[in-house]
Amino acid sequence: MMDVILTVSKFIGLMVIVTGVVQYTNYFTQLVLATIQLMSSGKAARPDALWRRYSDTVPPIAILVPAFNEEKTIVESLSSLMAMQYPNYEVVIINDGSSDGTLDVLIKAFGLKKTSRLYSPLAPHEPIRAIYRSPHQKRIVVIDKANGGKSDALNAGINVSRAPLFCCVDADSVLEPDALLRTVKPFMEDPERTVAVGGTVRIANGSIIRNGQILKVQLPKKLLPLLQTVEYLRAFLMTRLAWSQLNTVLIISGAFGLFRRDAVLQVGGYSLGTVGEDMELVVKLHRDLRERKQDYRIKFIPEPVCWTEAPETLEVLRNQRTRWQRGTLETFERHGKMAFNPRYGLVGVIGFGNILISDVIGPVVDAIGYILFPILAITGTLPLDYFLAYVAVTSGFGLAISVGSLALEEAQLRRVPKASDLALLTGICILENLGYRQLNSLWRIRGGLQYLQKSQSWGVMTRKGFTSY
């Protein structure tokens, strides 16, 4: 009987190891693709050169900022957006039925007056209660509407905005002044085919921010945001850059992305009643454009940077991660027919294959490993070679991937302020394998369970506000 249990356990253990090897082969391929992409794109131009080259020809952009109970950060966010280095843009804040003083602080800070605006309700959303504009700042438009969620708010913004491109930005985020000029470049170079472009999102915790401007970039002082700094580097610099090369980017962060308005309206705007609206929109665009056999590009470029506040407590982070997982699974289900369907080309094979390995199978197999291997080790029935291979797939490869992403960032972009910060982040790359990564897998399992229960909750997301750093 014992032999049978041992054989079954070893078989399951082997499956865990094989899945881990497949996952990391996928990640190493991404790292290689991202390296090639970064090396071929060359050094980014200085902001003044960008302005000189593009300012007279860039298309107008509407920056859409959905805001729900953001009274602590909204004025600073809007101030930062008013200082963008871009010749032709408007900022549309959508107050999504906030129960705090979001609208009041905006009215007070910018002297907003009620006005009206011609628009067509092309994408669905809850009723708009009022539209406000500032007599002193012509670029500002504030929409006050009944609560309907982030997708709903963005749809209202898309309808009311007039520019051919719109940029969605989270209210708790700070865009670098040249971010729009950098992000619009693919639209300038390939205007017919480019439908969406995503930029990098970085962690702002620890940096000095005043009046919505990053004065000094610094690493977070707390462990949890530091761990997320490494995680974001991996997600943006490695995964999205790699998939961008193959035109299979499936997610443009809701915190910062630039879209062609007509292409988004063609697919009906953001889907309502989803928690992963950013990913769902991009997948919907891929699906629609592939079905209509259009030649198109959805790109990620690493230079434009959006700074965001990362959760500093385990509870808030857990809520965020379970929500992300629910969003991913929801999109996977909703557009499941694209998976491995030749009609959708590489998006179906690589994009959906990646979700299947990393987000559907991955967390389950990881959890089995975390339970099985310690039991086998404690009972003394785990052969040494199994143990070593398991450590390799849970920590060794993970360390190589994280440090590789950090090295890529340093070799090409150099946004980490000091050499000592690089050393600290290298240490974090080692540390994240000792608990954080495992915790993340458990949160994703939790997200999967919530998804099966069809939960639509966003969880509590508390903000400190930038000035408190």
Binding site: T115, R117, L118, D190, L388, L399, G404, E410, R414, L422
Partner: protein
């Protein structure tokens, strides 16, 4: 060898290699930080020398330091600096730089291995006209693979009055990463100084709709009313992009003779064309077509409604009066659009 042990060994190797790579990069960062500080000092010195040329004139040793002007950073610093000065001061700066052979240095930098240096050099040469600059930039355009540098080169050629050939410019549109919007300034320059070449190219059989649209839009910059007939003929084209581009050209020319043809486009089936027609008519005809424009307040597309209201407001008091009277129109869609537009443009309160 046991494959599980191999997995362990590969993981150890990769983790170790990545850590070594990272440590090397950290060491390099320390060196680079020092180098950056040196480069910043050099940048400051160049800026200081340019400031002395303009406002001080003392310290000839600084201004005439040949070694300083040989730096590859000079074009970039120059472009930032020259954007801040105008007129006689700019001329004095450029004369003095020519005296120090800075333009020669810029021409040499067109062959630099780094793209960013070549890019800045070709942009900076726009301030140093002459045969040698034209020849160097021509050679760069011919030899470079980078589309953005070629377009920058063409812009420089237009700036120094050495116009590139129209077919060469149009060839850019068929290349990958071509930016029609960035080429538009080159084409506008050619329309002013090489109009005949542009018109001949437009008559070529088999040119693409994109090429035609770019050319028609550029014709508006020619300020030559002889192109009116060409632009009006294009209003009959099948492709809406061509009709819209011709209307943009007509809007730039703002000639009243074109108004009847433009007004006919207010009934176009494509809303982009209708919107462009309103803009063109506003420039060309003043109040003459106000009632036709106000009819578009009931257009099914909101952007056309808005363009119509905006055009009426831009016509001054008579147009605004017409818009105000439209708020009492029995057609609900017209009255609502008019009142919303007036409120949005800040002239009246929104109707309840």
């Amino acid at each position: 060898m046991n494959s599980l042990i191999l997995i362990w060994q590969v993981a150890c190797f990769l983790a170790g290699a990545s850590l070594v790579w990272m440590l090397t990069l950290i060491a390099l960062r320390l060196i680079r930080t020092r180098r950056e500080a040196i480069l910043q000092k050099r940048r400051d010195k160049i800026t200081d020398a340019m400031s002395r040329i303009l406002w001080d004139e003392t310290g000839a040793a600084v201004i005439d330091n040949k070694r300083l002007w040989k730096s590859q950073m000079v074009p970039e610093v120059f472009l930032g600096f020259v954007a801040l000065v105008r007129g006689e001061e700019r001329e004095r700066l450029i004369d003095r730089l020519i005296g120090n052979d800075v333009d020669d240095q810029f021409r040499r930098l067109l062959h630099h291995r780094r793209k960013s240096v070549r890019f800045a050099a070709v942009e900076a040469l726009a301030y140093f006209p002459g045969l040698s600059t034209a020849r160097s930039v021509d050679a760069l355009i011919e030899n470079t693979k980078a589309a953005d540098i070629r377009i920058a080169g063409m812009r420089t050629l237009v700036s120094i009055g050495s116009y590139p050939l129209v077919p060469d410019v149009m060839a850019e549109l068929s290349r990958p990463n071509a930016s029609a919007r960035r080429l538009q300034s080159v084409l506008s320059g050619l329309a002013l100084h090489r109009l005949q070449d542009l018109l001949e190219y437009l008559q070529r059989p088999g040119i693409s709709d994109t090429e035609r649209a770019c050319l028609l839009e550029a014709l508006g910059a020619s300020t030559d009313y002889s192109v009116l007939a060409t632009l009006q003929a294009a209003l009959q084209d099948e492709a809406p992009t061509i009709r819209a581009a011709a209307l943009e050209g007509l809007a730039d020319l703002a000639h009243p003779d074109a108004a009847p043809a433009i007004a006919a486009c207010l009934r176009d089936s494509d809303w982009n064309v209708r919107a462009a027609a309103i803009r063109a008519l506003r420039e060309s005809a003043g109040y003459a077509y106000a009632s036709e424009i106000s009819a578009l307040l009931s257009d099914p597309v909101w952007l056309v409604q808005f363009e119509s209201a905006q055009a009426l407001v831009d016509m001054g008091a008579p147009g605004r009066n017409l818009l105000e009277s439209s708020t009492r129109d029995p057609d609900e869609s017209v009255s609502r659009t008019a009142s919303l537009a007036l409120a949005e443009l800040g002239f009246a309160g929104e109707r309840p």
